[in-house]
């Protein structure tokens, strides 16, 4: 076996297992739980991609909902306006299921590339700004995007954008959860990717040590907004209806809360807190009006007790947990 064959096979195995699980859930899970599960996945993608920007690279962005909106509307426009043509050509040859998959991937690709392009456009001028100024600039960007979309009649304007084909379910969402996690993990946990953290720690020192800080900042924005675009596209093709109210700056704040709660610079922390903060409002449904109160209270308590987030910048890893336990046993 060549060294390359093994990871590929592992990847294929994981996708097959995911497919089997999706097949089961699609048929047997009740619709409400299914929706919560899928929304958790979408939030994980958003939190992990924002963590690359905010947590690992230390750029305080409040514009993530804007990138998500671009991805959502662009992807939806592709499948709404191009869907019939694509199905017409592909379905007779490959069948409707393959046609659906190709359409979804094309829509997601369009959304992600457009969002990444916006990330680049925001990223380059915004990088002249530091901390709070950058936060305000990205906040403004997100709102501009929302208002522009609100006034675009091709994507429904204020009425909302409906009749989007329901192409994304558990399988696609969690496939992209996996891709996002693997990509960001490999980037920031490689020796080269430590440069993102160096830029966060001290961008001038990083520059003097030969690291092109601007390049890493732009890369963080580019990759982060790319995956936010994917999350938006999945969101559109799962809910089949979009309204700009889903992409206000409060949405950006929710994603930031997930990142901060889980730990800036902890991927597993982002996964856990995205899951928790998606489920929590559902559990608190009887007290719905108090949801934001609980949110805020939770944040205040957390910031007082653990300002670095639940996991800080550590990861939850079975391997390191086992190693720690072994060391403890040896010591005892």
């Amino acid at each position: 076996m060549t060294p390359l064959a093994r990871p590929w096979m592992r990847g294929a195995g994981a996708v097959a297992a995911l497919g089997a699980l999706a097949w089961l859930l699609d048929r047997h899970l009740n619709a409400y739980y299914y929706q919560v599960l899928v929304l958790i996945g979408i939030n994980v993608i958003l939190a992990v991609s924002l963590n690359l920007i905010n947590g690992f690279t230390g750029l305080f962005s409040i514009g993530h909902a804007g990138f998500m909106a671009i991805g959502a509307y662009a992807a939806a426009a592709v499948s709404v306006y191009g869907g019939a043509a694509l199905h017409g050509t592909l379905d007779p040859i490959l069948g409707a299921a393959v046609g659906d998959a190709v359409l979804l991937l094309a829509a997601l690709a369009a959304g992600a590339v457009l969002a990444a392009g916006a990330g680049l456009v925001v990223g380059i001028p915004a990088l002249r700004l530091k901390s709070d100024y950058l936060a305000i600039a990205t906040l403004g960007f997100g709102e501009i995007i929302r208002v522009i979309i609100l006034n675009l009649d091709v994507v429904g304007g204020a009425r909302g954008f409906g009749d989007i084909p329901a192409l994304a379910g558990f399988f696609w969402v969690y496939l992209f959860v996996g891709i996002t996690l693997v990509t960001v993990h490999r980037m920031v946990r490689s020796a080269r990717g430590l440069a993102f953290l160096a830029v966060r720690e001290d961008d001038l020192a990083a520059e003097v040590m030969g690291i092109d800080a601007t390049r890493y900042k732009v890369t963080a924005f580019l990759v982060g907004s790319f995956f936010a675009g994917i999350a938006g596209g999945l969101f559109a093709h799962f809910l089949t209806y979009l309204h700009t109210n889903s992409f206000t700056f409060l949405r950006s704040i929710e994603i930031i809360v997930m990142v901060v709660l889980g730990g800036m610079g902890s991927l597993t922390g982002s996964v856990a807190s995205a899951a928790l903060l998606t489920v929590l409002p559902e559990l608190l449904r009887p007290l719905k009006d108090y949801r934001m109160v609980i949110y805020s209270a939770l944040l205040i308590v957390l910031m007082l007790t653990r300002p670095q987030g639940v996991l800080g910048d550590r990861e939850l890893e079975v391997r390191s947990w086992l190693a720690r336990r072994r060391r403890r046993e040896e010591a005892a």
């Binding site: 980037m187 020796a191 720690e201 020192a205 040590m209 030969g210």
Partner: protein
């Protein structure tokens, strides 16, 4: 000097809102030389370092390194050209371990980029392995092998200073600028560091410019001393020449220095 200088600053001036921090500075450093840069507080020594590394490019004049002008180069490019430095007020990557601080600066080993890291290519694996070896070797050289996994901000002061040097060396410089490398160290740590500096120079074929307030250290390590005051070079020569120079004594002790 017959050999062409490795570094040459020609009539360089850096001013901040009218204050001339460095004024008409001329500096030549030959390959392999160790030059001490001394002067009273506020003389402009650290500004010279900031100027040479591209943080504050000179408003007039020019810095030439290895025969090429550094005009218009940003700090990262200056570093890649072969100049590395340490900071007087330690600027390590505080929340990263000692090992990570050094590892991420091993640029010559880490040629494969982020895309290769994401795709886990074979080239990436080779580069990582080489960088890991280099980082470990450098930490060992500076006596930091026992603190690999300790966060930089948890290290002792002396270890932080040594880690700054290890990190600068990871970028494989030809010219190393040390800004007060022994500040805050006790006498035995200072002696040890002076020895280390000598060894490193030999082993890494370095040229060095160091700012240092401890006269015993700077006179011991340097072949030549440059004295600055009020942004200008006021004296230059061997440690013996500089020690007896009346202008130097005046700069340090004031005009009544002779009577003090």
């Amino acid at each position: 000097m017959i050999a062409p200088p490795l570094l040459e600053a020609r009539d360089c001036t850096v001013a901040f809102a009218g204050l001339r921090a460095v004024s008409g500075l001329n500096l030549r450093i030959a390959p392999g030389e160790v030059v001490g840069l001394i002067g009273p507080n506020g003389a402009g020594k650290t500004t010279v370092f900031n100027m040479l590394t591209g943080i504050y490019p000179p408003q007039s004049g020019e810095v030439v390194f290895a025969g090429r002008s550094l005009r218009g180069r940003r700090p990262a490019q200056v570093n890649r050209a072969g100049i590395a430095r340490t900071f007087q007020n330690i600027r390590l990557f505080a929340n990263l371990t000692a090992y990570e601080n050094v590892l991420l600066c091993c640029h010559s080993a880490l040629r494969a980029g982020l895309a290769a890291a994401t795709l886990r290519t074979a080239a990436h694996a080779r580069c990582e392995a080489q960088a890991r070896d280099e980082a470990r070797a450098l930490l060992a050289e500076l006596g930091l092998e026992r603190v690999h996994e300790v966060r930089a901000n948890h290290l002792s002061y002396g270890d932080q200073r040594r880690l700054e040097i290890a990190r600068a060396l990871a970028t494989r410089p030809r010219l190393l600028l040390l800004d007060e490398p022994t500040a805050g160290m006790n006498p035995s740590e200072k002696t040890a560091l002076a020895d280390t500096v000598d060894e490193l120079r030999e082993r890494h074929d370095l040229t060095m410019l160091l700012i240092e307030h401890d006269m015993r250290v700077v006179m011991g390590v340097s072949q030549r001393i440059v004295v600055m005051d009020h942004g200008e070079v006021i004296a230059e020569g061997t440690p013996q020449q500089v020690r007896g120079d009346p202008r130097v004594i005046e700069a340090y002790l004031g005009e009544d220095g002779e009577t003090a």
